[in-house]
């Protein structure tokens, strides 16, 4: 074994490159140990610990580069030097600003370095980029909405031919191999796989499973039009097939806002064929909730269904009046409507209604020229304040969605307005869709909302039932 230590005076490289160079040397044939680093005190100590002679670097200072190699013989040392030369010099050339690659303008330009494309350009342009991505062998998530349905069909047929998946258009949420795309909560990888044409529906499933201690490795969004007659569930069926074939997926959930009946049947038939136990949750069908789907999933996994986190309102009393639902998540809103209609009868979906209303502020008509309400809360804040002042309103129900992509601290903006509404006598119920792994910190958000006067529920269905029951109470009383 030969120790070879060289000091290059006044030679500087950044620490990341030196780390890469060290790694390249360590992997070289015949090399036992190697360190390439600036001669700081820390690095000199490290070198001594590795058993190299401290004398060799006695005169070196922080502006000097040390190259220490322990190898089986002289040729191995010489070989290591060649590798080092390449690791340091070639990179240096590539990093020169003159040679910096100009910014790319189309997906195809960098496709060879990627595995997946996330496209959120205006809908009329999404098709060209998505086709570009598919042709270059990438899976695709199209976040953009307003993509013509014929283009969606063509994208998904092309993906089928190429053995790829198109999630979307109008796909807000996905998790692939534990990585959240679009709006996604931070969850541990685990045995549940999800396929869904329901963005916040997927998020709710993930959050409830997370609260029950169960992880999700893959949640494939399909886009809100996938279960339409025209698209025929192409992505849902493909995702279902892939997750069914995946041995690490123990239970499958298929979730969707109300699908076209014949497509719903086709998916139901495919789910029945799956080897993996599969839970279907078509929101809008009698008695179907996301909470219920998670319950069945936990049963299939042999896990107990927990009492999902909730933070009761500090005070009980509130003025009589109608229900105002102010939602940012479409699937969460749909679920709430389903539950409210059962208990309250008619529930309006448009703002003008004088009776009970549940509005989805993520719908196109409210997002023209502004960001989604999960990012930009201003419109909802204003409607929340108005509902607080409106003496006809007894109970206000709203969702707050956390996770990647969402507002960094929604409670900070909502709390003062909630406090005002509560002071006016309205009851405020919050469905908080989040996990403690989320960047916004679910429990802290809950505390702030709760202290402002809101009853906070992790389960959207529980929040909706609670809100409805309070309206009921008043009606009965």
């Amino acid at each position: 074994m030969i120790d070879n230590v060289e000091v290059r005076r006044g030679t500087y490289h950044d620490s990341v490159r030196l780390m890469q160079a060290s790694r390249a040397l360590q992997q070289a044939a015949g090399v036992e140990e190697a360190l390439v680093a600036m001669a700081t005190d820390l690095n000199c100590d490290l070198l001594a610990e590795m058993g190299f002679d401290p004398e060799a670097i006695a005169a070196a200072g922080p502006n000097d580069l040390i190259i220490a190699v322990r190898a089986v013989d002289e040729p191995a040392v010489a070989h290591a030097r060649l590798i080092l030369q390449e690791a340091l010099v070639a990179k240096a050339v590539r990093d020169s600003p003159m040679l910096a690659t100009p910014a790319a303008h189309v997906i195809g330009s960098v496709a060879s370095e990627a595995t997946l494309a996330l496209i959120s350009v205006p809908g009329e342009h999404a098709f060209v980029e998505a086709m570009d991505a598919l042709r270059h062998g990438l899976d695709v998530m199209v976040f953009s909405d307003n993509v013509p349905i014929a283009q969606e069909v063509q994208l998904k047929r092309s993906a089928d031919r190429l053995g790829l998946l198109v999630m979307g258009p109008d796909c807000g949420t996905a998790i692939v191999n534990g990585v959240g795309l679009g709006f996604a909560n931070v969850v541990q990888p685990g045995p549940v796989g999800i396929v869904g044409a329901a963005g916040t529906g997927i998020q709710q499933l993930c959050c409830l499973l997370d609260d029950a201690g169960v992880g999700v490795r893959n949640a494939l969004g399909t886009g809100s039009h996938d279960l339409s007659v025209e698209v025929g569930g192409l992505s849902t069926l493909r995702g279902l097939e892939a997750l069914d074939a995946d041995p690490s997926t123990e239970v499958l959930i298929v979730a969707s806002k109300p699908p076209a009946p014949e497509v719903a049947e086709r998916v139901r038939a495919a789910a029945a064929e799956c080897v993996t136990p599969t839970v279907l949750a078509y929101l809008g069908e009698e008695g179907v909730t996301l909470e219920g789907a998670v319950g069945r999933t936990l049963d299939l996994l042999g896990k107990a269904v927990p009492a999902y986190a909730s933070w009761p309102a500090p005070t009980d009393g509130h003025r009589p009046g109608v229900l105002r639902g102010l939602f940012s998540g479409g699937s969460l809103g749909s679920e709430a409507v389903g539950l409210a209609v059962g208990a309250l009868g008619e529930v309006g979906r448009e703002e003008r209604g004088a009776g009970h209303t549940i509005i989805d502020y993520g719908e196109d008509e409210y997002t023209r020229g502004r960001a989604h309400p999960m990012i930009d809360q201003r419109l909802r804040l204003q409607r929340l304040a108005a509902a607080g002042r409106d003496s006809r309103v007894g109970v206000i129900l709203l969702d707050v969605v956390l996770g990647h992509g969402a507002h960094p601290d929604p409670a900070s903006e909502l709390a003062p307005v909630i406090a005002d509404a509560a002071a006016e006598g309205a009851a405020v119920v919050v469905s908080l869709c989040g996990t403690n792994g989320d960047p916004q910190d679910r429990d802290r958000q809950a505390r702030v909302l709760n202290e402002a006067g809101a009853a906070v529920w992790l389960s959207n269905a529980a929040a909706a039932r609670h809100a409805v029951s309070m309206v009921d109470e008043v009606a009965d009383g």
């Binding site: 003159m98 370095e113 996330l118 086709m131």
Partner: protein, 473 residues
Amino acid sequence: MGELERLLHAEPVVVTAGIEVLAAALGAQSVAVHRIDWRPPFGGTEVALAGLAASPKVAEANEIAIARLLEVRPHLVDVLPAGEVVPGLAGRTFLHAGPPLSWEQASGPMRGALIGAMLYERLAATPEEAASKLAAGGVELSPCHHHRAAGPMAGVISPSMPVLVVENPATGGVAYSTLNEGLGKVLRYGAYAPEVIDRLRWMERVLGPVIGDALRRSGPLDLRSLIAQALQMGDDGHNRNRAGTSLLLRAIGAALVESDVATVADRSAVYSFVDSNDHFMLNVVMAAGKLIVDAASGIEYSSLVTTMARNGTEFGIRVSGTGGRWFTAPAPVVDGLYLGSFTADDANPDIGDSAITETIGLGGFAMAASPAIVGFVGGTAAGAVQRTLAMYEITMAEHPSYQIPILEFRGTPTGIDATLVARTGVLPQINTGIAGKEAGVGMVGAGLVEAPMECFADAVKSLARRLSDDAAA
């Protein structure tokens, strides 16, 4: 491998186009992200681009077209009188650079060159007589590009001029270009003074036959190899051809000495003429380029650009999949360095077939190989590298032989895709000379010019129409 194995189980590397917050969310998860600086396509091309993206035929056609473009091996074999070899040049036909043009539309240098050709061919005794005959339609004008030929600047080719003969031994394809006259007062810049005509006559009588004989003695000269070497010696193949010219002269040197078709004095004069004209190789590269683009032309549905050429009035392009149709826009004015006391006011709009070099991955596309070019066309060495790097985004391939040392011998960006130009807004970069706008003035400078977007947008729309018409038929 299971279905969607990579998606479900591999660490994703994500390319994002659109909303920044979504890219940032990936960054927060320590996922490798490539952000695209996406921008809307050129206005009016959206529907056409979607139609072309929808069809697998376009991608398939482009694969064929670029393969044809890359496989051509041009060889310089001879120099012969144009009237004997260039198709369709019999009778009173003159060829010119760029898209089709009438005398009325012709700019100063183009008119000057046509007048000069009339004097040279003895079809007129005076410039005035030449002009009136040309105005009366006494000579038919036709683009070089329609006759397997390409000519720099005005690009005028008349029957008596000697032309370089470039062949592709594998296919028997052939293409032609004139011999370069040097700088100063020359026909291609619209000069027609007696010294210009005298030089043309000497070229016909001495230069052409001597070079032709030398080539026949030395055997076919592999231009692909010669151009590749020249790039590594600092040429761009368009405005810097010092290395290529030197290599050419070296290759035929012994044959020049051996030649018996002229006196020693004449052969010495030939050597000196070529040696003193750094641009001699330009016309050779252009003939090679014509051979290359013709091989890639006529592939139905392909969006490969096969012609970029200017006639001093209009800039025109042709695309492989749209037949012989020209898509034109007013020729832009070149941004560059001016000789002596000339200024932009003296400049004619862009002119010449020499943008064929950019069409085959040289010139502005190979500027990174030629930092010395900036002394001639302006700019900085770093800017030259950046211009080449920008061209990779609008081209289909990296040339297997034309390599750029400073880019770690990466091949030059080759084969412009008109759809990528429309999508990215990145325009082909052309290195070029600047002609004076008055006939007879000659060269006033050199610089850089971008091909006009309208040409590419129109080509994309036309290609999409062809595709949808054929699908409907």
